[in-house]
Amino acid sequence: MKPELFTKETTAIIYGYQQKAIQRMLDFDYACGRTVPSVACIVNPSRDGVHKVFFGKGEILIPMYKTIRAACAHHPKADVMVNFASFRSAFDTSMEALHEPQIKTVCVIAEGVPERRERILAAEAKKLDKMVIGPATVGGVKAGCFKIANTAGTYDNIIASKLNRPGSVGFVSKSGGLSNECYNIIARNTDGLYEGIAIGGDAYPGSTLLDHILRYQAIPEVKMIVALGEIGGSEEYRIVEALKNKEITKPLVIWVTGTCSKMFPSGVQFGHAGAKAGAANETADAKNAALKEAGALVPNSFDDYGILINETYKKLVADGTIVPAPEVKAPVLPMDYEQAVKEGKIRKATTFIATISNEKGDELEYNHVKISDVLNCGLGIGNVIGLLWFKKQLPAYCCRFLENALMLTADHGPAVSGAHNAIVAARAGKDIISCLASGILTIGPRFGGAIDGAAQNFKRAYEAGLTPDQFIKDMKAKGINIPGIGHKVKSVNNPDMRVTNLKAFVMKNFKEHKLLDYALEVEKITTQKKGTLILNVDGCIGICFVDMLMSSGCFTKEEIDSIIDMGCLNALFVIGRSIGIFGHVFDQKRLKQPLYRTPYDEIAYMTDL
């Protein structure tokens, strides 16, 4: 394996749809002045396509594939995989990536990968002469070149820690959180980081502190090495051996954390899974002492870590080993919209207004009424209509009236145009939405529209002070049949029970029913002309609906006019009838009815006409 893992041309495959991490990688690219984005593509097992991200000031598309194989096939130059798979699938996906010849480095983010799996992963990588960073890590960064995932946090921090251009220090630690802290320490005390890797806090990381230290030893640009060890395990003794064997000759500043463990009762498991001393030689004190003896530069405590790094750096500058890297000004990254809003720096006009419901709080609300109250206080569907259509909590009798109207309009047999169309669509094998649509699309002036028409016309006449007689004459003069009057078979002597029941309900429950009374006066006159010219069910619903609005005391006159004008009555009919239309659709599907074709004898072919 070559000591250098990353260059300014390195591109990576990101396993897992990690949008924030991807954006942070590309923002780092921008800071470094990379021309090629460091993310070649994304592997997202559940979806392929593209993902849109910012690359500097503009936007680019990053391809997304369902498999690692497809990602590799399309991006043969990508030699890093950053694996965000969960602890359950991290092992299998990492092994798969290692066996792709083009992939040289796999970084495993997941915490909680079983130790045996980690060991197999490490051994397999060694066999294949490839690099595994992690599991349980945030990754690493090569200053000015390439950054893994969320390493080094925000853009500001990247700039503050001078990670947009290489310095002279190679760094490695177990902890991902601390690595970021150490980039900061290194930036303050030297000419900056060359490369930093967090190997992960588990007992068996894919690559070890020593693996990376030896890489840094082999990279000429790295002039000094800084490392952070940890209590538990014996990894640091391999470093001791390497120091003794002169495999490490560059200055190595190292501190092993966990010196407090001697003060603790036995058995304290620190934050990292690997951070527990099983034997005396695994304590931080023992390791620090052994490293110091072997020639490493070991501070007295973490407080002095930065000071020792600084002293070491100054010596190297003084003897000419290090020529301090020049500062490179990083471009200013445009602020993200969300951040700018959060900081109150910008404002934006909204596109939509919504006043009837809100799902953003703890609980969904219908016009300020919590959904639990809707359910638990027995509000019923009438009240839900009240809340969402009229933004009112209606008296119980009004809700019952609305529910009655829904029940009455739910169905009127298979022959009417709505049901018929839906049946034909169902028999054509269409889905239920198409069936419903083909049915309700027939609702209009001739079918179902009488409810709306009756309400409009009777209300207009009543409010204009026309007598029933004048109203009838007026309509006749206009050449319009009065909507809501007339039935095909029902008559005065053969009343429509739907109308009888609805009238009785209104008479009993409404405080006033002026428009119904008016309509009944009109009916008296029309039925004298012809017995079937009765107030029909559509008319009755429409007219009583107006009475409900006017008598409930909940609505102003303007509100009532607006409700009628908006077409709420048509809406009421659509809701009610949808129940019946679905019934017919399910009926046909249940009966497995075949495609309907209108028989020839139903059609008069008169092409000669």
Binding site: F87, R88, G153, G177, Y183, T257, G271
Partner: protein
Amino acid sequence: MAQRGIREYDGKRILFDELAKVIPSFKGLSAKLALVTPDTKPEELLAANPWLKEGKLVAKPDQLFGKRGKNGLVYAGKTWDETWKWISERMNKETTITTGGNKKVTGVLTHFLIEPFTPHADNEEGYISIKSTREYDVIYLSAQGGIYVEENWDKVKETRVGILEDIENVKINMPDFGVNNALVEKFTKEVYRIYCAGNFSYLEINPFTFSNGAVIPLDFVARVDDTGAFESRKMWGKIEFPSSFGQKLTKEEMYIRDLDSKTGASLKLTILNPEGRIWNMVAGGGASVIYADTVCDLGFAKELANYGEYSGDPSEEFTYLYAKTILDLMTRTKHPQGKILTIGGGIANFTDVAKTFKGIIRALKEYQQKLIDNNVVIYVRRGGPNYQEGLANMRKLGESLGVPIHVYGPETHMTAVVSMALCPDKK
């Protein structure tokens, strides 16, 4: 998430059930294990385990500590009535044991394992253990096991199995078990397979003996890697991870452990000295250790009250609950010099500092009066996403809370606040 000791009862249950699939003599053995807890009713135990009345028994505590024989805590070759009496006399009693390293540990006996007694001679005690290293597992085998195996370590044969090797192709380095050699070799390979498939990280059977041409494991100790649960759950069955003997978790430690299990983030708390003056609330598994180190390095180990950490971007609510727990603990007893709270951390990679601080600030406000009464001084040091907002909110709180809050960002060395707090005279 780490290596966890398991009860001998669970370990043997798993081992016997798995071995029964490949070695007929193990069939039915797992049914002859009985675990006695403080809630066990003898009549119910007998009803579920009629074999307890049928022959001689052996009983011993099952609480993750070894050297039970040397501590006089193995009661062997007795009847049910004698065994139950022996257990009853010890149940819920505080007991001091001497561990392998000659350390004395005191704890309460709460769990006992009862099994059928297998008589055997001292010269029929075998030893097997398996441990893991980075590149390979090591199988140790000895024909001279028992309590003096360590004294006879030169008799122990070692076999290394590379992590990528198949045990089938490995030649086991066998000590001389005489006529039982083939039996032990087969047993060893099968135990090793279970060790791998069951995500064990340590396993020791000492001793095992022979009876009617079969291997009989007597004492069993094991640790498993709890991150392997998703792979080995079926093999493990219902398993528990007891605390080590003598380690008593406080109510608050249990509470935080419970919170931790409910979030993808990490929340840890260990109380070191509830009367301690110095309380740390530090973000990050690595940073938290360094803050504790620094307190100790400065010579204040005895005053350090807790070790703990929160990390992995916990929600505001979880951070609030975590902070509240610490604030409650630290304001229970007053200290003449007042108390110090360090809200520390490194520069986060992706944890939202403003968000987690919101949770902490909520808790601080709630404990305002108690913090004042206890003369608490707060030191804050943190960096990472939205840290400016988080620190500004802390500073603002400092103006109204009534206790001093000193706030620092990434420009100050991570642990500098510790010496500022503890050695204000030092520069």
